[in-house]
């Protein structure tokens, strides 16, 4: 499973990527987290607020650090 975290490198974006990596490790899921910092790509997904989380081609979350429950729901 491939999850992209979109964000220009702000603190909340890092926190989001770390949270997903950690939850994935805890649940033993095979997940690659890719951080997208290039503004063109971020904007290409149509998000206006960062951090945003993209799974497949779908924006599942944007504008804040997701909750743990959110991450668990995406991984299952």
């Amino acid at each position: 499973m491939e999850i992209k975290v979109l964000g220009p490198g702000c603190a909340k974006c890092k926190a989001t990527a770390e949270l997903i990596t950690r939850v994935a490790a805890e649940t033993g899921k095979d997940v690659t987290v890719e951080k997208i910092e290039d503004m063109r790509q971020i904007v290409g997904h149509g998000v206006m607020t960062t951090p945003a989380v993209v799974i497949g081609d779908k924006v599942v979350h944007k504008g804040s650090v997701p909750s743990r429950d959110d991450v668990l729901a995406w991984l299952s």
Binding site: G7, P8, M39, V43, H45, G46, V47, M48, T49, G63
Partner: protein
Amino acid sequence: MSVQTSTHPAPRNDWLWHLGVVAFVAIWWLVYHQLIPFAEWLTALFPVDRHSHTGEALAFFFYDVPKVMMLLTLIVFAMGVVRSFISPERTRALLAGRRAGVGNVLAALLGVVTPFCSCSAVPLFIGLVSAGVPLGVTFSFLISAPMVNEVALALLFGLVGWKVAVIYFVFGLGVAIVAGWIIGKLRLEGWLQDWVRDIHSGASSPATTEGDRLSMVDRYRLGIEAVREIFGRVWLWIILGIGMGALIHGYVPEDLMARIMGADAWWSVPAAVIIGIPMYTNAAGVIPIVEALLGKGAALGTVLAFMMSVIALSLPEMIILRQVLTLRLIAVFAAVVGSGILAVGFLFNFLF
């Protein structure tokens, strides 16, 4: 904002939340009115004369820190709840295709209530421009969003009084509206970075639309989240700002500020704007200083100009915007906003 988690238990819990919010406001009110005795009591614990410079500075500090923290908590919570009704996507839908004039007014007003964080400034900017929001209207939004915010208004209201808070609100919006309108008139779309114009012409995929099915409890939660987040960001600035303010209050002689920042010194307004630009702080840090300067005889217009320039024209923000704007456009932006701030400063020094 995530919406998948609106699975809170039966509405039985809701009234507990409402009750909790009401109780919190009531307690807040009671405590808020005990702050002066509390500050005096705390100052008396120190082995200094209450009327000495140090005593004055300490009393100022002990009164202002809890007062500002309490005001911020309440207002940021309220704004967090209000903002849960407005997303950037909704703002974009409201602004798309607006003409100059009405569009600028609407954009400046939406800038006050739309959730905005400076690290999202670029995607927000592109999101607006690519959806057909005119450049000038986008700028009105981008100027008002950081300048006229709830943190600034809460601090001004608490520290300087409601009149100055209202003046700041009205003239902050005024600068955003007029500056955006002028930038729109100049037709500078060609001065965007090339790649932004490409997105502009191509269709950008609309972000997934979220339903607005948040319960009131979810909105309370978002309010609490906003308080936590803003405090995490500004508490240090507030303490530093009030510390600076306390030093000015206790040690700076009365007539010094009246002389160098008074209404008679015409050059003080441009000086305040120029000094304000490289200063990187936010409303939380600058307003306690403003309060102390006003108390020492600085003119209102000069101080307003200083405050607006610190908050609205910051170098870090310009560096972020550099990704989407050419240097020429940033220079125009700074010049137009700076002139607006100058006008406000001179106007107030002239009137009062």
